[in-house]
Symmetry: C6
């Protein structure tokens, strides 16, 4: 194994891996290194092995039109740029527009340390980062595509949890719905609705408020950094994959006024039920 292999990075990229999984990972990496006639396993081999295990091998033969590649590049840079600009988001580790599995591209963020608690600000920023792909497409191409579907699904899930599980909305510091997990029919039968129609509508409204605020914030930040977004997307289209350090070079100087304060949905938690 080369000295440059950063075990800490590998560890943070493989949460939940068992010993057997890690052994499998190193085997895979060794095979990749051997194919390149290398005697030592390098960091690149290890990361490629992780990507293959998590998302499948890169589909280089997939023929993607220039227009779509352009959209994918801006979509991923949209995610990455917001992850960079937001104070609590995890740093960008890699951006890629090499298709793998069903995905046309991906942006990988790696936390600096293990995290067990997640704050309201962090949750809001995660939603903003999820929306970044769609907003970038909209700003640059004035078009909406189906490519953001998965992002929207995950962002909606987070926003619902803020309201229904973490007590982070105007509906108060309580939970709504019971999770029906581990039942015999499959993994997750969704939540059981233990509230009335008025509450159901109120939950929808709170989720919409969260989205509305996050969308505005994503749009504001990306509009302000349009030039930077274009430059990075250009490099990404050429290289197809950018490491975090390459990406970070663009941000040697970010002026504080470029970063709008995230205005949290109005919930001063004083009078909970107006």
């Amino acid at each position: 194994m080369e000295k440059a292999v950063d075990l800490d990075v590998l560890a943070r990229r493989t949460p939940g891996f068992t010993g057997a999984d890690l052994e499998n990972l190193l085997n895979e990496a060794a095979i990749l290194a051997a194919r390149k006639n290398k005697k030592q396993l390098g960091m690149q081999d290890a990361e490629e092995a992780i990507d293959r295990i998590l998302a499948g091998p890169a589909k280089k033969s997939k023929i993607i039109s220039e227009k779509e590649k352009e959209m994918v590049a801006f979509h991923e840079v949209g995610h990455a740029l917001l992850a960079k600009l937001l104070p609590n988001a995890d740093p960008v580790h890699k951006i890629s527009i090499l298709p793998r599995g069903f995905a046309l591209g991906y942006t990988l963020q790696l936390p600096l340390e293990d995290k067990y608690l997640i704050t309201k600000e962090e949750l809001l920023e995660r939603i903003i980062v999820f929306l970044g792909g769609r907003v970038a497409e909209e700003l640059v191409f004035n078009e909406l595509s189906s490519g953001a579907h998965n992002d929207l699904e995950r962002a909606t899930e987070l926003a619902r949890r803020m309201v229904c599980e973490y007590g982070m909305s105007n509906l108060g510091v309580r939970t709504f719905g019971k999770q029906n997990r581990q039942v015999f029919l499959g993994k997750d039968l969704g939540e059981q609705k233990d509230y009335g129609n008025v509450t159901a509508d109120a939950i929808d409204k709170e989720v919409s408020i969260i989205f509305s605020k996050c969308y505005e914030q994503a749009r504001y930040l990306l509009s302000k950094n349009r030039d930077k977004m274009a430059a990075i997307a250009k490099e990404l289209r050429e290289k197809e994959t950018m490491e975090g350090e390459d990406f970070n070079k663009y941000f040697d100087l970010i002026k504080p006024e470029e970063i709008a304060p995230i205005e949290p949905p109005k919930t001063d938690q004083g009078p909970l039920f107006a």
Copy 2:
């Protein structure tokens, strides 16, 4: 195999086919060629083999009344004409009124290249093309028939996805409902409703707005091109099957003013939640 066989067309007509499927396809084509005492397998044999595999053999013995044949011809031309006139729709490859399986006719569009992203404009145009069959019947015969059922079902599915999965409506850039797929009871148990009654009604309204706009557009375009529609339908009734090039001859000169701009449902995405 004859030189005229266009492998690219065959590839685009057989998305998702495995190697075994393709081998099966060529066998089928070879049998069809042999029946005609041909020594080489031609493009027509290959396409007929695809049709048989996807939709069953042509049911020439099915006795369809003249009136119904007339309606089917206009119905298919309705689809084809809109596919031609709309800027983002896939080109028409074949139109047929030879019944196969449960279908009385079909219009086949083939994309020019593989597509992984689909934009809002493309989705709207697909809905408009789906509505073309029904609208043609209505315009020409002033009658509504049950023949459009399958078209309407697929168009409704697309419109619901625009609203609930792709965030392309006034309800905002989020998803509604969770897909319950891969459960043991069958393939798809439909979505799980994770929203309240007010949202459910709002989703219905958004879907209706999309349909209303698309219907108007289909009607506008087909009324403007009534003569062309009649001419093509006449040829189709005689020949029973038209290739794309025969169909395209009718459009050597389309004046831009014949094509109405598709006015998208009002969702400038600025203020998302009014």
Copy 3:
């Protein structure tokens, strides 16, 4: 087989019969002919065999009161008369008040040719014909009986399809609800409701409008032809079974003004969503 056996009629009366079913049918017919010591199988034997297979043998031992027989006769003539008067309904082939299976009588219509498309007018006329039995009872006896239950069920099914599957109502050219068919629990688990409460109520209203119009039309046509209805019912009570030609004798001269134009539910399809 006697020359008078009309194979075309037999074919139209046995849609969906496999070869084995048809062989079985001829065996049954041969047995019936043999019981009458006939050497040749006649048309009557063949039709009786079809009736037995589809609905069970005639239950001549079933003792039905005179009053009920009277009601059944008018009920069936109500169906038949409307089938005759409406321009798009299939011609009457036979009327019978011999009970078979659970039915006390039946009216058999046979299409002149195979039909693959069914228009809105035809659907409306089918509903009107279904309502004919109940309306006749009401007009003649001023009584409502449970005998129309099956007719109403099938008419309701058609009206719901017009609204929810064929896009033939003011709710627009789209579908409502997804059919959950072929699931492991049985044949049909009914539709999945994929719309909100407001839409559900609107669907009910559209179905009610269709019924209201069809009911008025049935009542209008039967009131206008009360004498004819009484005459035919009298003959039917005596003979118990009437062939189409006997029935048609009553209509050598129908004046056009006896047939009211079916006024379709107001849906000029212009502005779809008011």
Copy 4:
């Protein structure tokens, strides 16, 4: 078998009995006759055998309080009296306050002939007869008891059928809901609700109107015949079982004005959907 055995009555009391059931019945009757050292099987033995098979042996050891016996007697006479007074109800064959199975008493009506159609008037009268037990308790004891539960359940079922299956209400000549029968989970999974909330409430209202009218009618008829009711109940308490002819003696002269015309719920069926 004694000559007095009325086979016709036995037949009408045993609808749906198979040959084996009837053989079993006669065996049971023969045993009962043998216990009484009779050489011939009498009508009483046969009827007792039917009662045993349908409802279990009479539980003479069951100790029922005087007060309860009094209530049961009036309850049963309430049913019987209405069955007598209403023009279309089946004649009373037997009344009993000997408990059998879970029932404390019963009133047996026998139709004069087989019936295949049931009219709206007959259905309304059946509901009125069902309500007779409860109304009698109320009039005589000014008390409501749980004893009418089964009657109310069956009357509610009939009223719902009038509205939802037979098209006999202001909601029009159509059906509501689909019956989910013969599914693997059991006999009847109840109806599937294929209508919206507004319709559900309207159905409830129609059912309530039917009950309101029938209740008034039951109350009116029993109040008018209070003396007769008391006299019959007295005889029933002494004898414990009354045959139809004993019961009918009380009605040698009924004045027509004692029988109120049943005023049907206002549904002249003209304008169906107001």
Copy 5:
């Protein structure tokens, strides 16, 4: 067996016991007698045996705080006092604050005779008796405890039955909902809701009216008899178990004005549907 053993009381305390159950009961009683070196089985042994079979052996080792014992004593006396004061309630047979199974105490009422019908007054009084425990806690300690949960559940069940099964409310003489019993999934899948939202809300309101009236009545009667309640609770705390006769000593003279007339929920049953 001692002569003092009252077989009638044992019979009334063991409804539904089979022969085998009774044999088991006497064995248990014989063992209990033998433990006390008695040669004859006494009434106390028999009753203790019944208690053990129905609720488990007395848990004398369970350490219950003085405060809780005090609350339990008043809770049970609350039940017993109302059972005594209400004209139709079954007489008190025993009161105990010896914990058995999950219960901290119990009040046992025994009917004077078998009952097959239960009147509206009796049902209302049962609900009042159920509420007695909670009301006593409230009056004496000004505290509400979780101990009344089971009482409230059973009282709610009775009130719902009055409205939905016995036709004893302003919603009229009919039933609501169908019981889904004996299905394969378990004993009782609850009722099937066969009514609309308006009716569901109306049922809730009727149940609430019943509770409101019964609660007022329980509070009125217990407030009026506060001294008596305290005296009996004191004796119960000392003795831990009181027989009916000891309890009844306190009521040698009850003045009629101590017993408020139970004012039934306003439902004179005249105009059923206002």
Copy 6:
């Protein structure tokens, strides 16, 4: 076993343990003692054994950031402080920020005696204690984290029980919903909704009122004792685990005015249904 082992404490910490469970517990404790080369099993060993059995071994290797540790410390002290200040809450036995299983820390309260009844005041105080963790985070860090999810879930469960099972709200002394337990699909299928929409909304409102009051109370008490909270959290961060007696030293003198009276949700239970 050392003399210092307090069997009473061990008993109160192990409710529901069977004999075998206790044997297992002592084995575990003996092993822990042996590892430390102790000859006698001490109280600490026994308690550690209980913690391991209930929550898994302490995960000392889990690397938690300083910021998170700080939040966890204040979170746990928030629970403990409220448990101390509220008159009816169980005393604090131990506080720990050593992660075990999925929990980052825990506060252990031990009742002074077995409890079988729980009063409304005790339930409200339990909810207040549950909210203490979240409120402390909010007050000190002005941040909301996901760490309170489990607390909120349990508090919501208690509040729903107060309303739906214990009759402790403005909706009256009755129950709502039926528990569907012990069915074959798993442990708990949640409650069956046996009430209408209006009631469902009213239940939500009552639960919200309870939360609103409890939240205010938690905030009031913790704001008043901010200095004490900081001091205890500081000690807890250093020691990682605090025993009850160490915690209690901080409260040698609590002035009564520091403890706000818990104002119960307005339900004087007089007029139950306004």
